[in-house]
């Protein structure tokens, strides 16, 4: 299963970015093989509006089945739901910690956005 984590870094020990749409990068982890891939979110960072929508399209096209982040706004959530991508929110400090919680079943799939847009 491919899972995208929001981050400002490029490795598992990097901090988990609490933002989804304006996270600098996504670390995509394959939970079966352990392979890690970095996907740039520059388009989302640069978007004047609709950063969450842009980011949701980016991860959906990357073929992930789940997103783990700090918070997810309503527009991003709608696009991710439509694309069949599950959303998990967590206060884990690092990507590795979030991955561990995901693997151990410690995260619950979000049923709706947990923040308004532009919450930061």
């Amino acid at each position: 299963m491919r899972v995208a984590f929001t981050t400002s870094g490029d490795s598992l020990d990097a901090a988990l970015d609490a933002r989804f749409g304006r996270a600098p990068r996504f670390l995509v982890c394959d939970t079966d093989s352990g392979a890690v891939e970095v996907i740039d979110n520059q388009k989302g960072m640069d978007a004047a509006q609709g950063a969450g929508i842009q980011a949701a399209q980016t991860v959906a096209r990357a073929g992930v089945q789940a997103v783990v982040t700090g918070h997810c706004g309503p527009k991003a959530f709608r696009v991710l739901s439509e694309a069949g991508v599950a959303v998990y929110t967590t206060d884990a400090a690092t990507v590795a910690e979030a991955l561990e919680r995901f693997r151990s079943g410690g995260l619950t799939e979000a049923r709706s956005a947990d923040v308004d847009g532009h919450w930061v």
Partner: protein, 280 residues
């Protein structure tokens, strides 16, 4: 002549300059309040709205029975207002700029445009000043189409004063574009200087000639005047930091009516603006 009154920083006195200028310029004059998120020129003028018009932007509506999820609409839209990920498109009307491109590129004709209300325009005659005011609906974030609708009420040949929104972003560009001259109002403070520099660059890149009015002269320092000297920007008027002006403002009075000794200031501003337009 179309004069736009703008400023980088908010609260510098744009509306004060716009309404007083409209009063001294003579009839017929049209004052276009393009500060559609917070129009306030009407507070200084009498008269009730005689005309009211609803303004809408066209947004896409998808006929899902015709859509084959090709994704062309989503690829076209620069604002992520329509998204198609191998599924039926999702529409975010609040992000749509109403360009109609998605409907044009749709190979199946599955997209038509429907109106989405964004605000109203009110017109009133206030003692010889025709005030056209745009009022954006609460919750709407897309001001430029409403600003353009207000400007469409311009009557060629009439004196026109545009009260622009503050800042240097899209609503301001929409308000200022096409003016014969822009008056940038600022105050002699570090904030005023910083935002004047941004507004001057914006106005210059639009190719519209401009000059500066410095309000509340006496506070702050001399750096705004020094900046204008260095950049060769004409300072058209200094308005002193006079408490009586603030008091008149707080009572909704025009400065030129409440404090007649300032009438000459605004007449000089008008004359210098006309000279600058002729010279440009």
């Amino acid at each position: 002549m179309i004069i736009a009154v703008a400023s980088g920083k908010g609260g510098t006195g744009k509306t004060t300059v716009a309404v007083n200028l409209a009063r001294v310029i003579g009839s017929p004059v049209r004052l276009l309040d393009c500060d559609v998120e917070e129009p306030n020129a009407h507070l200084f003028l009498s008269g009730e709205a005689s005309e009211r018009e609803t303004i809408s932007v066209p947004v896409p509506a998808v006929d899902e029975s015709l859509c084959d999820a090709c994704g062309e609409c989503g690829r076209f839209c620069a604002y992520h207002a329509i998204v198609s990920l191998a599924t039926k498109p999702l529409v975010f009307p609040e992000l749509c700029h109403g360009c109609g491109g998605c409907a044009l590129v749709c190979p199946r004709g599955a997209i038509r445009e429907v109106d989405r209300r964004i605000g109203v325009i009110e017109i009133r005659n206030a003692d010889g000043i025709v005030l056209v005011q745009g009022l954006l609906d609460v919750g709407v974030a897309m001001a430029p189409p409403l600003v353009r609708a207000v400007k469409a009420k311009l009557v060629p040949g009439e004196h026109t004063i545009i009260d622009a929104p503050p800042g240097t972003a899209c609503p301001v560009v929409a308000a200022v574009r096409g003016a014969d001259f822009v008056i940038l109002v600022t105050e002699p403070t570090p904030f005023g200087l910083n935002d004047l520099a941004l507004a001057a660059d914006m106005t210059a890149s639009l190719g519209v000639p401009f000059g500066v009015v410095v309000n509340r002269v006496g506070v702050g320092d001399g750096r705004v005047h020094a900046f204008c000297r260095e950049r060769g920007i004409p300072v058209l008027l200094d308005i002193p930091d006079d408490r009586r002006i603030a008091e008149a403002y707080s009572r909704g009075k025009l400065v030129v009516d409440a404090l007649p000794e300032y009438r000459g200031h605004f007449e000089r501003l008008l004359e210098r603006t006309r000279e600058a337009v002729r010279a440009s």
